[in-house]
């Protein structure tokens, strides 16, 4: 538990220090991400060896104190957060002067990491609210780093994010007013003992979280915001920020909804998930802008998360929990790689449109390779992490013939993602116009963009331990 606590506090400390000592902000935050990666690894090791642990912050007894819980799932998500942050920080460090990234990036990203890590460790409705609020504000501020052109997208993001928080808070207040608990396990016990109609509260919370996580049809703010932000920020937003509310949705629905309500909720998730896959994929295929395409791909990919969540509630099969979180992990890695590589290529080749990438397989082969490999995971080709998630999703489905209609949906989603990824790849294989002889883009940022793609590509070979940790 101490390791996990340190993994939350270290970035917070780094954020404060970076604000005070702006000249060294970049190096400070970069170091803190590396150390928090080690701490997160240690926390995972601790959980695997000694079992789950929980702690009461501030020393109050249960019910008053903020409870943190460290189990395999939260340790894994903590590790994911630290890993993505250290990758993005390394990329930004190698790159931020060229990319014109403001120094404000560093304290904000450290704050983001701290907020998200504590979100994954919390099991308390109000603490979640606080971390969610922090997460949202840090994210909006990060989008604003792009300057004036991002103003509109950031304002929309901010307003919707505030509305979502209010929605969530209202739901929490209703629950608290009736049961007097904020701690999720306690609340679950109270609800099972005295099952009154808490449907309204749950729907309010769900609406707020779906808006925050940009789940279809509440995704309208995402493409503009993610596309307008600087590349490292887009990577953080797509890979991590939307996963926080998704995790909360999972926790709240799996613990607080009774079996009856769970089935009703599952229909919502199954339908919106299917729509997200198809509509998001279609929008990604139609857009002429590269980063908008990647952003829509996030909308579409979150559809798999929704499907897994819906199936988990519908069929109560642990395989779907595994599918959900392997998908979360695989998508985080793949999206980091895609956004960093696409951003790097936009920066060097100069242009936002897809046509910028004509011939990129010759001019910037490494970055293009990163997009293709990460794309393999988004499509779900073996042996990538996306493949394992999809496989876990598909396998139990064959046993439940009443849900057969999900198969064509998943098939369509897969083909659409293949279509938009390969649309880019085919362009890149166009013979390039000869470039200036002094065109020699730095290799280090490209390698850093490729690294997460290689990790996710091999994920299937680690699926044994992943599945057993997530098996529950």
């Amino acid at each position: 538990m101490n390791f996990a606590l340190a993994a939350v506090l270290l970035p917070l400390l780094a954020a404060v220090l970076a604000l005070c000592w702006r000249r060294q902000a970049a190096r400070l935050v970069w170091l803190s991400t590396l150390f928090s990666l080690l701490l997160a690894l240690a926390a995972l090791w601790q959980v695997v060896t000694f079992g789950p642990a929980s702690m009461q912050l501030g020393g109050w007894q249960t019910g008053l104190a903020i409870r943190w819980q460290l189990n395999e799932l939260s340790a894994l998500l903590l590790l994911m957060t630290a890993l993505i942050h250290s990758l993005v920080a390394s990329y930004s460090l190698s790159q931020w002067r060229d990319a014109g990234l403001s120094a404000d990036f560093w304290p904000l990203s450290a704050l983001l990491q701290s907020a998200l890590s504590s979100l994954f460790l919390s099991v308390d409705l109000f603490n979640w609210y606080v971390t969610l609020e922090l997460l949202g504000l840090a994210a909006v501020a990060l989008v604003l780093l792009s300057g004036k052109k991002a103003l509109q997208a950031a304002m929309r993001y901010l307003l919707l994010s505030l509305a979502a928080s209010l929605c969530y808070l209202l739901g929490v207040a209703l629950l608290y007013g009736h049961y007097g608990w904020l701690d999720v396990p306690q609340l679950a016990v109270a609800i099972s003992e005295e099952p009154v109609d808490h449907r309204l509260a749950l729907w309010l919370i769900t609406a707020g979280l779906m808006l925050k996580a940009a789940l279809w049809p509440l995704h309208v703010w995402l493409p503009a915001a993610h596309a307008a932000a600087p590349a490292p920020v887009s990577a953080l937003l797509s890979a991590l920020v939307v996963k926080g509310p998704l995790f909360m949705l999972y926790m709240i629905w799996s613990q607080l909804a009774g079996p009856e309500l769970a089935v009703t909720g599952s229909w919502l998730f199954l339908l919106t998930g299917s729509m997200a896959l198809v509509v998001g994929g279609w929008s990604a295929l139609r857009t002429p802008y590269a980063k908008v395409m990647v952003a829509y791909s996030t909308v579409a990919q979150l559809g798999y998360g929704l499907l897994a969540l819906g199936l988990m509630l519908h069929l109560t099969d642990p395989a779907f929990t595994q599918a959900l979180f392997i998908f979360v992990l695989a998508h985080a890695l793949a999206k980091t790689s895609t956004f960093l590589a696409v951003g790097e290529m936009q920066l060097r080749l100069g242009g936002k449109r897809l046509s910028t990438f004509r011939g990129a397989s010759q001019t910037m082969p490494l970055a293009m390779f990163a997009v293709a490999v990460a794309g393999g995971s988004l499509i779900g080709l073996p042996p990538s992490g996306g493949f394992v998630a999809k496989w876990q999703l598909l396998l139990p489905l064959w046993q439940h013939s009443q849900l057969w209609w999900l198969l064509p949906v998943i098939l369509a989603g897969t083909l659409l993602s293949a279509a938009y990824i390969f649309r880019l790849v085919v362009l890149a294989f166009n013979r390039a116009k000869p470039v200036r002889p002094d065109f020699a883009p730095a290799l280090l940022p490209q390698w850093l963009a490729l690294l997460p793609a290689l990790l996710v590509w091999m994920l299937a070979f680690a699926s044994g331990s992943l599945l057993s940790w997530l098996g529950g």
């Binding site: 397989s361 394992v388 496989w391 598909l394 064959w398 083909l415 790849v425 085919v426 294989f429 166009n430």
Partner: protein
């Protein structure tokens, strides 16, 4: 460490590692790149030869790595996988030679040879896959590794062909994956075994098994160019000649055909196939593809397109032989896997030589080439004779076994299909041969002097000469121990001797 279990891994790595190294080489490092390429081939051939004698002696090469629940990642060298591994390694050697000569002085060679090696690694991995999951993995990797080769020229047509290729193969791959997932959800993915592993499920899940079979064959049929799914193959002709040669003889279409062999014999097994009545539809489909491919080939005026449709037709002989489920027909199908590869690669090498040396692409431009390029023309003629199935060539052995197998398994109508197809083969190849040898030299579009000694660059000439000699040798020495025929008999002996 147990060397025997690592041998399949080394065989895959022997082309994978050179491939990865080649990617990082600068364009002008010709010598190092060539050394890596040929070094990889030679190491692979040595390892394969070692495995060949081991398998012959009854040795088992089995490598396992945890992968998914219910299905490990398995590489397994058995007689059937070795048939395909041997074919791809030997043809990789000649194609590498050819490609070095063909691409001399052209740009992006490091990228080309890198993907070329990846492509062979995927093919060999696919051949050595020990269960359905591993097979699916390499099947998808093969799609990804071949795509950059198809669009290598980067022109508008090649990109169009590439898009089409991807649309077909990715969809096929997804369908195959669905089928594999369905079977996996029923029994997991155990190692391939003669007689299949699905008979315990027959009583309860026969409907699902049929569905799985349809999904698997559809997914594999895309690469094997079975009838409604063959559209990508003629388009992919815009690729450079060595790529077409590799695609048609070894890598892609053969991967599909090989997968069908695996699914029929080692997943479903003969008994289950018969009880589910799946044989007839497959035989019909293969026959229809054979006739349709030959018919379309007859109408093509472009040499490479004619060869492409001929591939559509010829590869389905493999499916046909396997689908009839009789041992004799199986020998015919399996031996054709090798024979078709060697014959088709010869034809493509020669077509590439005609195009490179004289600028010939259309069949009507071939007039009198025989005197200007005698060796290539002889090789082409031998390949064509093999395709028709004339005596003393490899093609005749395949057709002989297929025909007697059809009678043996009780499909007399298949005999008619074989005869019609052979007649069509003759109709589309003999005019070409007639033009090459008997008509006076015409106006060749773009004659070039590539060599002072030979008719063309020696690196372009040597590979088709080698494979043409192989065609004759495989035909004449079919009875000896070293021939693909006796190896096919060994496979059939092992596949049919289960209980």
């Amino acid at each position: 460490m147990d060397w025997n279990s690592w041998l399949p891994v080394f065989i895959v790595l022997s082309s994978l590692l050179p491939g990865l190294l080649i990617f990082s080489l600068a364009e002008h490092r010709f010598a190092l790149r060539t050394t890596l390429n040929l070094g990889g081939v030679l190491v692979k051939l040595l390892l394969v030869a070692w495995m060949w004698q081991g398998v012959k002696a009854g040795e088992d090469y089995y490598f396992e790595l945890p992968f998914l629940p219910g299905g490990s990642f398995i590489l397994h060298g058995d007689a059937l996988s070795l048939q395909f591994v041997l074919l791809s390694s030997v043809l990789w050697l000649v194609t590498t030679l050819y490609a070095i000569g063909y691409l001399e002085g052209s740009p992006l060679r490091s990228r080309f040879f890198g993907y070329f090696s990846l492509c062979v690694s995927a093919t060999v991995g696919l051949a050595l896959s020990g269960n359905l999951i591993s097979f699916v993995l390499f099947y998808e990797l093969l799609t990804l590794a071949t795509f950059p080769l198809v669009v290598h020229r980067g022109t508008v047509e090649s990109l169009r062909a590439g898009r089409r290729y991807l649309a077909y193969t990715i969809s096929g791959g997804v369908v195959l994956m669905l089928g594999a997932a369905l079977l996996h959800s029923l029994t997991g993915s155990p190692v391939f075994m003669p007689g299949g592993y699905l008979s315990p499920l027959l009583a309860e899940h026969s409907g699902l098994l049929m569905l799985a079979f349809v999904l698997l064959i559809t997914g594999l049929g895309v690469k094997a160019a079975l009838l409604p799914l063959h559209g990508w193959l003629p388009e992919a002709m815009v690729a450079p000649a060595p790529v077409s040669a590799l695609l048609h003889a070894v890598a892609v279409v053969k991967a599909g055909a090989f997968g069908i062999v695996r699914v029929v014999y080692d997943v479903f097994g003969v008994d289950v196939m018969q009880q589910l009545d799946l044989t007839w539809p497959l035989v019909m489909l293969a026959s229809a593809t054979i006739l349709y491919g030959s018919w379309r080939a007859l109408q093509q005026q472009d040499l490479k397109r004619r060869l492409a449709y001929s591939t559509v037709s010829q590869v389905s002989y493999v499916t046909l032989g396997v689908a009839m489920l009789g041992p004799v027909a199986a020998v015919g199908g399996l031996v054709h896997l090798v024979h078709q590869g060697v014959m088709k690669i010869t034809l493509f090498f020669c077509a590439g030589n005609f195009a490179e040396t004289l600028g010939i692409h259309k069949i009507r431009e071939l007039n009198g080439v025989g005197r200007r390029m005698p060796l290539s023309s002889i090789a082409f003629t031998l390949g064509a004779c093999g395709m028709i199935g004339l005596p003393a060539t490899a093609g005749m052995i395949s057709k002989w076994y297929l025909a007697s197998g059809a009678l043996d398994a009780g499909y007399p109508l298949v005999l008619l299909v074989l005869l019609t197809s052979s007649a069509l083969n003759a109709m589309y190849f003999l005019p070409v041969i007639y033009r090459i040898w008997c008509l006076p030299a015409g106006d060749w579009p773009a004659p070039k002097q590539l060599s002072r000694r030979f008719e063309t660059h020696w690196m372009l000439l040597l590979p088709p000469v080698i494979t043409a000699v192989l065609i004759v040798l495989m035909g004449l020495l079919a009875g000896t121990d070293l021939s693909p025929l006796s190896w096919s008999k060994l496979i059939v002996e092992r596949e049919f001797s289960y209980d």
